[in-house]
Symmetry: C2
Subunit: 342 residues, 2 copies
DNA sequence: CTGAAAGCGCTAACAC
DNA sequence: GTGTTAGCGCTTTCAG
């Protein structure tokens, strides 16, 4: 292990004190120009880098923020990350990222690590398991310790912090109304995320739209796919037992699977059945037929979350913490080939 | 800014010395059991966390590794990240990630930051611009400073470090031979990544396969799409001017675009034209027809890279650095509907 | 069993 | 202009 260049070694080399070197490197007017030049030259040539721990110990600030995401292979979260990273960089923050894999314990571990002082603050999108367990004490603890916290997309009311969310209920409401305005009344729903806050809100929105249009909610039309369920079987049961002329899928991969099953069963899309899917990615625009989708703006949400966090960190530093803000980001319905105005 | 609990404050509370507290918390036999218990209880209740900088200053080890990726919205790189993160965690490392956006300067900045002591070592997949510029001094410098470095996928011979790569030439060679064995002889190629090491190797492999089968390489069949070029126009020119019965696309999005253009022009796939695409993601298996693809194993590559890095860091620590290793990961051709044995 | 003290690398107030 | 010194929070050696 080669030992690193420190102020001390440089000082020895020039036979002056450490302080002189420190000042020379900072271009302090205390030091003669000549000396400054030679010291800076030497430091540069030998690749002097100030020790980051020593700096941190002094400043007590990491200039790093954390990010806990349930999954990074999902393009939506990749987009969120991308937005966070961009703004973090603009503010001079590095990003440490942890993947919870929708696992409660991994989320707790990551949070504890962050609270350790590894980061100044962090952004989190809750793990599915955490939302099932409804145990949020790790986050409450983080806030108590004056670590900045922002939640994004999968959030909870139980923790008092800034949040960036999609108006999921509204998005599902709009999609459902879109069907209704096209004379579709027998609207089924497919969800593989009924456990998440997001999934629940979307189902709420769907039901509300039906109710507001005097259509009875039929719980049998709500297909909740669990980890061990086979979507094809469930779909066949529903399609075989009642009339369905529209299908709202709450999440991208389920949309793709549903589409493939419908095609296999020789349903005509959109003639027999219309399809709208929530999406994170680009899949829905490339399949045949291209699927009308409710699209979220992941990058923008990540940016917004990081802006919140940067602002919060400033507040914490200046000791004037304000109340929590929530930003609701709108979704957009992109009309494609899987729906048609009758 | 609430001030944090330190050994000092705890010591004051118990009216003992800092050293006593430090030892008590570490369960040293120096300290009476009674005292240990009460100190630990107090620390836990008040959420004592050792200051990470002070620890770092002592140990001079960050337990963090860096990762520089050209882009995270590309599922391939997301997979690489995912593999790195997994193994990093297993070894007790955190991951700081920077996105270069294929930009040389961003890559240099990230590298310099890492060399600053932010991380013990880092993994990088080169930015496209860096490969064009062929300027790798930032990495050479990193190695000189005893920071561990592993390159993955987009690498260069100019830097002497561990590498994890795909045998890109071989993969393209195999794909081309696959066409030839199916009686396709007029094989065109579409590349939007001709500037990257990866793109060049794939073109080499393609040419080699043609040569080994006594097929003349026709440079006009190699469609190199630049940033400002329109793929559709270029494709039409080639398809209009010569016979083409197979198309090898070097990258996923180009594959999708090519497929859509071919469909628009009423080519029958695979009857008139066979199609094979390199892929990072899942797109190719969901389009119609499903596209035969050369798939890479991103997660595995990330895992391998992190294993290399962990090993290298251990070597550096123990001062017995060995020579550099390169791991070549095989690709797989997944046969789907866009190719057919004649 | 407990404490004093040195030192990790750096900054900054103050002295010379 | 330059140097001395204290201190950031912690570990560790050594003395008592």
């Amino acid at each position: 292990m080669k030992k690193k260049l420190t102020l001390k070694t440089i000082a020895k080399h020039f036979n002056v004190s450490i302080a002189t070197i420190s000042k020379a490197l900072k271009n302090s007017y205390d030091i003669s120009e000549e000396r400054r030049k030679e010291v800076q030259k030497f430091a540069k040539e030998n690749g002097y880098k100030p020790n980051i721990f020593a700096l941190g110990l002094k400043r007590n600030k990491t200039n790093t923020i954390g990010l806990i995401l349930p999954n990074i292979l999902n393009l939506y979260f990749a987009k969120v990350f991308s937005g966070v990273e961009k703004i973090a960089n603009e503010h001079g923050y590095n990003v440490v990222i942890c993947i919870s894999n929708d696992n409660y314990q991994k989320e707790v571990d990551a949070t504890n690590m962050f609270v350790n002082g590894t980061v100044d603050g962090f952004i989190v999108s809750l793990a599915e398991e955490t939302q099932k367990l409804q145990n949020y004490s790790h986050f409450k603890n983080a806030i108590k310790q004056d670590v900045g916290l922002v939640m994004i997309d999968r959030v909870t009311d139980e923790v008092n912090c800034d949040k960036v969310i999609v108006n999921d209920a509204k998005a599902a409401y709009d999609a459902t109304e879109y069907f209704i305005s096209n004379q579709r009344k027998n609207i089924a729903l497919v969800s593989i995320i009924s456990h998440t806050s997001v999934g629940k809100l979307r189902i709420q929105g769907y039901k509300k739209a039906l109710e507001n249009n005097n259509i009875l909610v039929d719980e049998n039309l709500i297909i909740r796919v669990g980890k061990n369920d086979d979507l094809e079987t469930l779909l066949k049961v529903v399609l075989g037992s009642r009339k369905v002329d529209a299908l709202l899928c709450l999440e991208e991969t389920a949309t793709i699977s549903t589409l493939e099953i419908l095609k296999k069963l020789h349903y005509k899309i959109p003639e027999n059945i219309s399809l709208i899917g929530f999406t994170n990615g680009e899949l829905l625009q490339h399949v045949t037929p291209k699927v009308t989708s409710v699209s979220q703006h992941g990058v923008f949400m990540g940016e917004q979350a990081m802006r919140f966090l940067a602002a919060k960190l400033k507040e914490i530093e200046e000791d004037k913490v304000s109340s929590s803000k929530t930003k609701i980001v709108k979704t957009t319905i992109l009309e494609r080939e899987s729906t048609i105005k009758l």
